[in-house]
């Protein structure tokens, strides 16, 4: 059975179901990370002292550059589909996936370094909120990578069957990905710099 407005937009709202759906999901994610930011505020104001210099600013800045670049490649992956350039789309989507992977590898080394120095989540409220915020963010990166893998692999069948629907789905993935980038844009200064 066909659900209307999956691919074509509903005239009075101008939206497809998926577009509205992904934005609502992102709204709930804002509240999820918001709770953790609120936690950060309360814990930091309640702490007798707050560590500085425990985090590797250079690595954090590199990761920021990586994620911003991946946002550019992600939007290009979608734009290529709108221009019906399949090869470019694949290139950009793979680039996004690879950049995401590098981000996670960097984070792995960062985490390992902290654990080696005894800076575990139990060590202080600072490490606790650091690991939770970046950990949850990292899980979201992983989730995004899984979705990208699907659109690089089994999902490509949809491009032949219904190119508009495939393009829309890549767009929604892009929206999610930009949101993940956005969270990091706030996380980096808050955790690493302030």
């Amino acid at each position: 059975m066909n659900i209307p407005y999956t691919v074509e937009e509903r005239p009075d709202t101008g939206l497809t179901n998926g577009k509205l759906g992904i934005w609502l999901f992102l709204a709930s994610e804002v509240m999820l990370f918001g709770a953790l930011f609120s936690t950060y505020i309360i814990l930091r104001t309640g702490a007798p002292e707050w560590p500085h210099g425990e985090l590797n600013v250079v690595l954090g800045a590199i990761n920021t550059v990586i994620l911003i670049s991946s946002s550019v490649t992600m939007v290009m992956a979608w734009a290529s589909l709108k221009l019906k350039d399949w090869a470019k789309h694949r290139l950009y989507l793979i680039a996004t996936f690879v950049l995401a992977g590098v981000f996670l590898v960097n984070k792995y080394f960062e985490y390992k370094d902290h654990f080696d120095k005894g800076e575990t989540p139990a060590h202080s409220t600072f490490t606790a909120i650091y690991f939770t915020l970046t950990g949850l963010h990292g899980l979201h990166i992983l989730g995004g990578m899984v979705v990208m893998l699907y659109f690089l692999g089994p999902g490509t069948k949809l491009w032949k069957k219904n190119p508009d629907q495939f393009t829309n789905r890549v767009e929604y993935t892009g929206l999610y990905w930009h949101f993940v980038d956005l969270v990091w844009i706030f996380l980096f200064p808050i955790l690493y710099l302030l």
């Binding site: 709930s28 309360i42 989540p121």
Partner: protein
């Protein structure tokens, strides 16, 4: 095929009529080939999913009710062996059948959790919302059918996790449904509660996205927002509450899980000593942080509990008074305003945390303001009865009872929302009386009304009226005897969550303690009066009186579909011509003008 729309062929009994052939998008050839599992278990049809939610929710309600009946024994007769099941409970819970305090606490925490998160909300939102809402807006299904199916199964896993927690070492969660740290962090049993909550919250989030997109995008031609049945408005606002308020609790659940499992100190202050030994944690955490994140959800959650119920009552009242609802616009504006306000009242649950006068004044003010739309809604429903031609059908009995019961529940909330009186009433039985009045003879009665009302749409058969009347009167009388005395107990100072019913404190002697026996008797009798409902529900599926597609002569869209509706719901594309409650229109031929019937030439 018989007129119930149910047909039987060599592959079994099938719900529904001819389905959607006539609708523009064409016949789906795959539907005929679905096996048993894809059709009844892993279905993506909103009606099947709605029924799955409803039956699972009703079963959890029954289980949560049973937990309460066991608790009430201990409260009425502290230290006496529990009859019937006492010896089965085992040494860890009730040695020689006598309930241990730890087990009482488990029953208390799980009763609340199961009733709220696994019973009422799945039934009200997952059950009624899923089944009725797409039909009421003229949609063929939800916007994301596969996501809908996923929501149900994630709920199911969460529910199983919660039930399984009774069998872990140390038993189930014991720190109230509110799970305040540090106690919840150092106590046994909490870990599976937290994991279960993460599943349940995820299910809710997926469902709420589906509901909002469906209501915005899949309304039928002619169905503008101000022509929506109030039930749909209620579900719409509820979905926004779930979408935006649940994530902070999901985050908090993860944080508490980390406190328990990873040794963090999000909620653990410095200097804690447990059983004479200082805890080796980093400290500097804040227990109030949990309370803020918890109540940020849990306050909107109570509106999630009541709004669908108000929606159901509105539908049933309009239908059984044969006149339009009074003040449709007022109802819509009130319910949206209520939704907004529900996000800024939460700390009225925290007046006793050492809050200063500034923030206390803020929350008292917002709490008083939020009572206004609630009163407007109740008044509009009450005024809808004026000059009405009332039909006392079984759903109407429950809907009518909702009005004074919600009135009592709401009014008794006022002294709790004001800090000076809350100082005396916080954590007493008065609070238990207040919120149960709103949820039990309030919401649950409305849900019963909904079951009796929409049963014919789901099955093509009516439930038995005699059993319905017995169910109603028995429940109504008993439930008032259960909860009314709690106000007396609370006002005299009896605290909540005491495993011996308050017997250890001298000030509870006399009437407050004696009332525990009365309440217990009423609770067990209330349980007995649910038997007519259970029997009625299951026997009517097979042997209930068959009805056509609009047995209640109602005006909203769901009654234009066959009973039960087939795959795709409507035989012809639904078009809406008028407002939702055009009953007794002057000059019309019938006493109801359905939304889906065009004007006769």
């Amino acid at each position: 095929m018989d007129k119930t729309g149910i047909h039987v062929d060599k592959t079994g009994i099938h719900p529904g009529g001819e389905g959607v052939q006539a609708v523009a998008h064409g016949h789906d050839p795959h539907h005929d080939e679905l096996g048993f599992w894809r059709k009844y278990v892993f279905s993506v049809d909103h009606k099947v999913i709605g029924i799955q939610y409803a039956i699972t929710g009703l079963l959890f309600l029954l289980f949560g009710f049973t937990l309460m009946m066991i608790m009430r024994w201990q409260l009425a007769y502290p230290g006496r062996p529990i009859p019937l099941i006492g010896l089965w409970l085992g040494q860890a819970r009730a040695p020689m059948g006598i309930m241990l305090p730890e087990f009482y606490n488990q029953l208390g925490a799980m009763h609340g959790t199961i009733m709220v998160f696994m019973g009422v909300v799945p039934l009200a939102v997952g059950g009624f919302g899923n089944f009725v809402m797409p039909l009421q807006i003229g949609a063929p299904d939800m916007a994301f059918p596969k996501l809908n199916m996923l929501s149900y199964w994630v709920y199911f896993v969460g529910g199983v996790t919660m039930l399984a927690s009774f069998f872990q070492k140390g038993g189930a969660a014991q720190s109230g449904w509110t799970s305040y740290p540090p106690l919840a962090v150092i106590n046994d049993g909490q870990t599976m509660w937290l994991i279960g909550m993460i599943f349940l919250i995820t299910s809710s989030l997926l469902g709420s996205i589906n509901f909002i997109v469906t209501i915005v995008q899949l309304r039928a031609k002619g169905l503008s927002y101000m022509r929506l049945p109030f039930f749909v408005w209620a579900q719409f606002v509820t979905s926004f509450l779930l979408l935006l308020a649940f994530p902070p609790l999901e985050a908090a659940g993860v944080l508490q899980l980390m406190d328990r499992v990873a040794g963090t100190s999000f909620f653990m202050p410095s200097g804690l000593v447990v059983s004479g030994r200082p805890l080796t944690i980093s400290g500097n955490g804040n227990p109030l942080l949990w309370q803020h994140l918890f109540w940020f959800l849990a306050h909107p959650e109570v509106y999630v509990l009541i709004l669908p119920a108000m929606g159901i009552v509105a539908e049933v009242i309009a239908n059984n008074t044969r006149k339009p609802l009074w003040g449709y616009k007022a109802l819509v504006y009130s319910v949206t305003f209520l939704g907004f306000m529900s996000f800024i009242v939460w700390a009225h649950h925290m007046f006793m945390t050492g809050m200063g006068t500034t923030m206390s004044a803020f929350f008292q003010t917002t709490t008083m303001i939020i009572s206004i739309p609630s009163v407007v809604i109740l008044t509009a429903l009450l005024l809808s009865l004026w000059g009405a031609s009332i039909r006392f059908t079984t759903p109407m009995l429950f809907a009518l009872a909702f009005l004074p019961m919600f009135g009592i529940g709401g009014l008794t909330g006022l002294p709790l929302g004001l800090a000076p009186s809350d100082i005396h009433l916080h954590d007493t039985y008065y609070v238990i009386g207040h919120f149960h009045y709103v949820v039990a003879p309030g919401t649950i009665f409305a849900l019963f009304a909904g079951v009796y009302y929409w049963f014919p749409k789901a099955t093509g058969r009516k439930m038995n009226d005699m059993l319905g009347v017995i169910h109603f009167w028995g429940s109504f009388i008993c439930i008032n005897i259960v909860f009314m005395p709690m106000f007396i107990q609370g006002l005299s100072g009896m605290n909540r969550r005491m495993y011996d019913g308050g017997a250890q404190y001298a000030y509870n002697a006399g009437l407050p303690l004696k009332l525990n026996v009365v309440i217990g008797m009423a609770a067990w009798t209330l349980g007995l009066f649910q038997l007519p409902f259970i029997v009625n529900f299951f026997t009517s599926i097979f042997w209930g009186k068959t009805v056509d597609k609009n047995p209640w002569e109602a005006t909203t869209l769901e009654w234009s579909a066959p009973s039960p509706p087939g795959h795709g719901n409507f035989l012809t594309e639904p078009i809406v011509y008028r407002a939702p409650y055009e009953y007794s229109v002057p000059g019309a031929a019938k006493d109801f003008s359905p939304q889906f019937e065009p004007e006769k030439a």
